[in-house]
Symmetry: C2
Subunit: 340 residues, 2 copies
């Protein structure tokens, strides 16, 4: 009997689309799930909104002993998950649960290191270990669920689909440094780089930081007359992927200014600088679409933030193009596929 396609044949994007059909309409569209009064029930205070996010990190897919010790694996796992809460508008995390899977021969020291890293990130950026589960299995894996909440009056929901033509596109920081760190850790061929730059890049890769501070700044600098409307996501899959996702979900085209690309200064002189800025991934900054006066206020208030382009009505060239008429922005290679 033919069984139909495998997951590798479907690809990750189509798989997620199909899985989303099992959830209520619209529930799968963002970095994390928003739980408003309709889900939390009529007896609750109407203004409480929770955000819940699950990430699975699998050895040799998302992390490797070759590039990271256990403590870094834990830190990064928690940071990636909390970054999704920030990308939804949370100012911090309530906490996380951790499902640990590992073969029986795994040293306790590795597990201890991973949990120490998780808790170190939570200690630095908010949240506690709420609970979890553990099981034997063929490979090491952390399944992390983070819970956060929106704080009425101080922040609001950030959704991928809330952008409009005319919004400014804003990046909360530079991009490409994490990819440089990965290249150094993997021993990829690179020009000789100063030790300080090497260390910064490796640290950016191993110890990313969820940008709750950017969400707080967003709330503080909102021009008084504007209602809360923020489109955004994090740049975990790369700046270009984030901007594309915002554009597609908002029914727009994203126009990036080549001269305003937030390339990490440490990449200057590298031929791959632009590619890694756009496609490197794992910098865990926020990519936001904001009404122009709000964007200007945020750039003013939050160091490292810059306008990188704007949203416009959908254009025939596709969802991601250069402002200078340079045409569509395309990935230099097939993007990363977890089921490849």
């Amino acid at each position: 009997m033919p069984e139909g396609p495998t997951l590798a044949e479907l690809g990750e994007t189509e798989l997620i689309r199909r899985l989303g059909a099992f959830a209520p309409r619209g529930q799968f569209g963002d970095d994390a799930a928003l739980l408003g009064p309709a889900l939390l029930g009529p007896n609750d205070r109407g203004d409480l909104q929770l955000v819940v996010n699950t990430d699975v990190l699998v050895e040799d897919v998302h992390f490797s002993e070759a590039t990271m010790d256990a403590r870094d694996v834990g830190w990064r796992a928690a940071a990636a998950n909390l970054s999704d809460l920030a990308a939804m508008g949370c100012l911090g995390a309530v906490g996380i649960t951790v499902g640990l899977v590992a073969p029986g021969h795994t040293p306790w020291a590795w597990v201890e290191g991973a949990y120490a890293g998780l808790v170190e990130l939570l200690g630095a950026h908010g949240g506690v270990l709420l609970g979890g589960d553990c099981s034997g299995g063929g490979q090491r894996l952390l399944a992390i669920t983070a819970l956060g909440r929106l704080e009425q009056g101080r922040s609001g929901p950030i959704r991928r689909g809330d952008g409009q033509p005319g919004d400014q596109l804003v990046s909360t920081g530079v991009h490409g440094l994490s990819r440089l760190g990965l290249a150094l850790l993997r021993g990829e061929t690179l020009p000789v780089l100063p030790q300080a730059i090497r260390e910064q890049a490796i640290s950016a890769h191993r110890r990313p930081v969820p940008r709750f501070d950017a969400v707080a700044a967003l709330g503080q600098c909102r021009p008084g007359a504007l209602p809360w409307r923020v489109a955004g996501c994090d740049s975990s899959d790369g700046l270009a992927a984030g901007a594309t996702c915002l554009a597609v979900t908002s029914g727009c085209t994203a126009l990036l200014e080549r001269g305003a690309l937030p390339v990490a200064p440490n990449l200057e002189g590298l031929a791959v600088a632009e590619d890694w800025c756009l496609w490197g991934g794992e910098d865990f900054e926020l990519v936001l679409a904001l009404e122009p006066s709000w964007a200007a206020a945020l750039v003013d208030q939050l160091p490292g933030t810059r306008c990188i382009g704007r949203l416009a009505a959908p254009q025939p060239e596709g969802p991601l193009v250069w402002t200078d008429g340079g045409g569509p922005i395309a990935s230099p290679s097939a993007s990363f596929q977890h089921f490849g």
Copy 2:
């Protein structure tokens, strides 16, 4: 360099104890994590309490294609997780997130079946698919996090450590049927059994039900003068393990009445009936310790519920003994170890 013990050398109980040290004190003691105002923040309505629970289900550890199709895997995974919410006092689930890991060669049809089973359970017992993540990996795995809430006035928290000497021990249903179903599915040697009994047992194993109805009954039949104080857990690891856990966490000894053991009637005549009732596991009933008048009211109101013994001050024979002076109740074999 000596790396210290492996997870297999530690064993699951010691591993969980060590992992609990990374969480706030007391956070790891129950079937799931309770999130009260202290965790949800001072701005929330003081009476909202959420419950969050994570379970990891790994192929060939928790499920096998030999005994269950994909739809049953999904149903069981969601049922087990929601059972932990019921064991904490929830009347239903808000929803679940699902982390899916599977090799690229996995047929989409299997994943579709598993999610259909998850959503079928949620449709029948409450809750929606909130979100999730997916990744390639070496073996199939579902990491499920369920979120529920306590409903002020209709239920309260159920904790393992809230039992007191003098409480009656109550089971919300019979035990051993799921283990019989597993034996049939595995082709273990058994006496010839009527077809109806075989089907009931297999269904009990494949399609367990979270006992939210028992929590609702508990709230409805509480004698007016009593404050909410309910100790309990589910019997996913077996009736004896549940009673032992209640007793230990409450600082008591659990005394079981041999004549009142809730053996599934379908097991009558089988030599293993008592063992499977006590140690079979996966019946997903609730094991509760209640003030005697409340226990009597619940037995009256909820069909299938019975008193199975009581809690007493700790006794030198251990945490689980027979009431008739028959001594400690010991497992017939080493209990199931996930890292074994």
